[in-house]
Amino acid sequence: MSHAASTARSFVLAEFAGPDALFAAARQVRAAGHTALDAHMPYPVHGADEALGLKRSRVPLIALVGGLAGVVTAYLMAWWMNAVDYRINVAGRPFNALPAFVPIMFELGVLFASLAIFVGAILLFGLPRLHHPVFEVEEFRSASVDKFWLSVETSGETGRLREELQRAGASHVAVVEGEP
């Protein structure tokens, strides 16, 4: 319990009608020195990464590693099973028949890459999780429907931030505390 208390942070949530107002507010808050920003949007909008100062995603690298692992696994599997451990003579063809192994190397490459992308993306999302402090705010439900929310994570005073967000055009501002 003491651990939870020590890591508890405040989230200042502000609802905006559209992405442009949200991005403007995000830039403003960042200029004021806040870095732990997040935007919650019903669909992805261009400009969010830049407004929040986010880096490129690492998903393509994960996909590449997964895909190569699949191709190599498939070849090693087919080679060891058909050319080493249990040799099957099929009409005199070579035991280690790379061209005949290509379909399975391709399929397993795609399978491993896809699984890596899916699992990797979910983990990069920071999911799955059953709860998050922002869900305490009933109005936050609109984040998946039609409204754009800015969330500022802070351990300090929230009063000035609230005012600033209200001035930036937020239609609703709320503060929640909890473990991020």
């Binding site: 995603s57 393509p60 399975i104 397993l108 896809s114 920071g126 799955p128 998946s144």
Partner: protein, 478 residues
């Protein structure tokens, strides 16, 4: 001759396709409308569900008889050892391919019209592949040993033969199903979050909440999401081509006349897309009415799909032509006999039905009138699926029933068990599909909202993709 005078709305420009979204809904409105079928199922749903459940029990009956009696309950026997089991497998998996084409290939080509139908088509893919996977499973004779297909450390000490197209098939189909499922689920996550946030009951909120995995639409997550979705699409695109190519290898690698040909992979892929689009149309036409999706699945979508039917139909026709040409040009008497036997032998009616449905019928889509009349599209799409089933029947049965040795020729006839399994899979497919439209959003709401946002950002003068044509006007066109 009567001249129609339009007084309301602007005159339709023949070069300007109709709108992708009718009217000017906002995000909340779209959300409520597109989820309407989840919150308020109609009476038609219950009726159709009972019908589909009946079909599913037919499948259970057919499969039970097969398990208890054995493969002898089916009509296939030497020389036609492959019949309904493989015909239906190829037919179902081909149907599935349009879903991947719509969701992945059209995404990469940035075709905006895919957005309203991709979720629907992906679900179709999943359920069609499930039906397809069932057939090789029960066709192996002793399905309780079906796991022998996978490389596992068996006490027998043997491993699968990786040079065999049949083992390629196992890997291709299982990979295809897995990747389709991941792609579909990744696309569903934001919509599940919308369901979680707008559902009324606590149970629903909790169940959708668990499946939404705690999605908060965070910009940090969207950044990974977009690239992950695009990459999965990029992987699914060659995958879908490889799957039907490998299915065609099951035939092309064999030495049998009528099977042993290099045109099979592209010809099978074209046929798969052709039948898949026909199935999407068969499903989407009643669904857009029953689920109230006419705002986002417009005449423009239907018309575009009929054009795909026309193009892929021509590819299939080219495949038929080349098969016949090569049979003649090769000078191989066995090859020539097979094609002559297809057109004039005991299965000639099936052959000519195939030619009519797959080659002649799609030509109606050269005409705008046919492309924009819902009833015509629907009937044609059903007939094309019949035609594509006939194609697989012709390929498999006619090549087998009269091969090299006339003393072993025979006539293949399916039994009631064969028919009940085929009809049963249609029932089971509908059963799964109805459950899907009852509990999950049939249209990718998040993507439609994104599309609406993009179209609105380009302004009303953005030509053919602009929103803003009143609902009533499109209805009068239809």
């Amino acid at each position: 001759m009567s001249v129609e005078i339009r007084t309301v709305g602007r005159a339709p420009d023949p070069l300007e396709p109709g709108p992708l979204i009718l009217g000017t809904p906002d995000d909340r409105q779209l959300n409520d409308e597109l989820l309407g079928h989840v919150y308020r199922p109609g009476r038609a749903w219950i009726l159709l569900f009972l019908l589909a459940a009946g079909g599913t029990s037919l499948l259970l009956l057919g499969v039970t008889v097969t398990l208890v009696v054995g493969i002898g309950a089916w009509g296939n026997n030497v020389p036609v050892a492959w019949a309904f089991g493989i015909i239906n497998f190829v037919w179902w998996i081909g149907i599935g391919h349009a879903g991947t084409l719509i969701s992945a290939i059209l995404l990469l080509f940035q075709q905006k019209w895919r957005t309203s139908i991709n979720r629907f088509a992906e679900a179709m893919t999943l359920f069609a592949v499930m039906q397809a996977g069932l057939f090789p499973l029960i066709h192996v004779g002793r399905p309780w040993f079906a796991y022998w297909l996978f490389p596992y450390p068996a006490t027998l000490g043997v491993w699968p033969n990786f040079k065999s197209p049949l083992i390629w098939d196992v890997f291709a189909v299982s990979t295809y199903f897995t990747v389709s499922l991941l792609f579909w689920y990744l696309g569903l996550i934001p919509d599940l979050a919308a369901l979680r946030d707008t559902s009324k009951g606590l149970l629903r909120r909790r169940v959708y909440g668990v499946f939404a995995l705690g999605w908060r639409g965070s910009a940090r997550a969207w950044r990974h999401y977009r690239i992950a979705y695009l990459l999965l699409a990029g992987l699914a695109t060659p995958l879908v081509l490889s799957v039907h190519t490998i299915v065609s290898f099951d035939f092309a690698v064999a030495q049998l006349p009528g099977w042993h040909t290099t045109i099979f992979p592209p010809y099978f892929v074209a046929g798969a897309v052709f039948s898949g689009f026909a199935m999407v149309l068969t499903l989407v036409i009643p669904a857009r009415k029953l689920l109230g999706l006419e705002r986002v699945i417009t005449m423009r979508h239907l018309e575009t799909m009929t054009k795909v039917l026309l193009v892929t139909g021509l590819m299939v026709a080219y495949g038929y032509m080349m098969e016949h040409f090569i049979a003649w040009y090769s000078g191989n008497p066995y090859e020539q006999f097979v094609f002559l036997n297809r057109a004039t032998g005991p299965y000639a009616p099936v052959y000519w039905l195939m030619i009519f449905c797959n080659v002649v019928l799609p030509q109606i889509f050269w005409f705008k009138q046919a492309r924009t009349t819902v009833a015509v599209i629907w009937v044609a799409s059903v007939l094309i699926n019949v035609g594509m089933w006939c194609e697989r029947f012709i390929i498999i049965v006619t090549s087998l029933h009269r091969d090299f040795l006339p003393s072993s020729w025979a006539i293949y006839k399916p039994t009631w068990v064969d028919w009940s399994i085929l009809l049963g899979t249609m029932g089971f497919f509908s059963f799964l599909f109805l459950l899907f439209v009852r509990y999950l959003p049939a249209v990718a709401i998040t993507e439609v909202k994104e599309l609406r946002h993009e179209l609105a950002a380009h302004g009303p003068s953005a030509g053919h993709d602009a929103v803003g044509v009143p609902l009533a006007e499109e209805e009068s066109n239809a």
